[in-house]
């Protein structure tokens, strides 16, 4: 039994590489489109001084899509970038993850994507770790 929340699997799908998700999903199951894949922008906000009042940093491209599988399950996708087919696949997996095959879909698609993500993050972290500095105090200036 998986304990992943919908919020988490939608995040994993959004961050996944389009080609990788396409490979893992294979043939797209039958579905009907409720909202056509649409490319738009999300205004990304930051906070002044990292923790203060919000400000508008700039936009990013995003593609969204809503569809329904033949068994009635509805899937939504909001994925970074402009790849409509990727948004459709993400919405399909979102719908499937709400159905009776969730465990199977998790094992076949979501779990490998999570693994990819961890491998990618670990590779970056280990390169960063190799550039970690220890500064030694040689001489402290006298007043």
């Amino acid at each position: 039994m998986t304990t992943i929340t919908r919020r988490d699997w939608m995040g994993v799908l959004a961050r996944s590489a389009p080609a990788r998700l396409a490979h893992l999903l294979g043939a797209t199951p039958q579905h009907s489109i409720l909202r056509n894949p649409e490319i738009g922008a999300v205004m990304v906000r930051g906070r002044a001084g990292a923790t203060g009042a919000p400000f508008n940093l700039g936009e990013m491209t995003v593609t969204r899509c809503t569809l329904q599988l033949e068994d009635g399950l509805i899937g939504h996708a909001y994925v970074q970038g402009r790849d409509k087919a990727h948004a459709i696949r993400a919405a399909i997996v979102d719908a499937q993850m709400q159905g009776p095959d969730a465990n199977d879909i998790f094992a076949r698609i979501v779990s490998p994507l999570l693994l990819d993500e961890n491998v990618r993050k670990a590779a970056i972290a280990s390169k960063a770790a190799a550039t970690k500095v220890e500064f030694f105090t040689m001489v402290r200036g006298v007043d």
Partner: protein
């Protein structure tokens, strides 16, 4: 999730919204003229014309106010899903939808400021039927004068004021703030 709130949007948004925008522009430019406006299939009690106008005019930067019977779950969800428009009280609205008596008193709505007359509300007035002409209209977009139905007095202080869109079924007409109304 209930499917109803997410059905009934445009099937071909670029084309349908452009066509609808042209119709809204046309009736706004020619006060008193009516046009057919369709494409959306909104949940009750919203008319097809009003639903199409909302899909065309509203987005996440267009605060919408729902008055009276239109402030219901089905419509809230439908508008949120299709447009992302925030639903707000009357005094913050760019667009408001309601029957005339639910929209009143109209001085709740913003009429813009001298620097920014555009920061005003557009009211979509849903009509139960399309009554007889009760007013004589003159002003921009009208060659001499024309007769039309006007639901009531609206605050005007040109260039400030409210713009009205009247809808019923698939029918739409408009009354911009620039039109002079003389009730018969």
């Amino acid at each position: 999730m209930n499917i109803q709130p997410i059905s009934g949007g445009f099937s071909d948004a670029p084309r349908q919204s452009a066509t609808a925008f042209r119709s809204v522009l046309e009736v706004m430019s020619r006060p008193g003229k009516t046009a057919v406006l369709s494409g959306a299939k909104p949940p009750a009690p919203l008319s097809i014309a009003a639903g199409t106008a909302i899909l065309t005019l509203a987005d996440s930067n267009t605060p919408v106010h729902l008055a009276g019977v239109f402030d219901c779950d089905a419509l809230r969800q439908w508008i949120t899903f299709h447009t992302g428009a925030p639903l707000v009280p009357a005094d913050e609205a760019d667009l408001a939808i309601g029957h005339w008596h639910d929209l009143e008193p109209l001085d709740r709505f913003r009429i813009g400021s001298p620097e920014y007359p555009d920061r005003s509300s557009t009211l979509i007035v849903e009509l139960h039927d399309w009554p007889q002409e009760n007013a004589r209209l003159t002003g921009p977009g009208i060659k001499t004068k024309t007769l039309a139905f006007v639901p009531g007095n609206r605050p005007t202080d040109f260039p400030l004021g409210l713009d009205l869109i009247m809808t019923m079924g698939e029918r739409i007409s408009a009354l911009p703030r620039s039109t002079e109304v003389e009730f018969l």
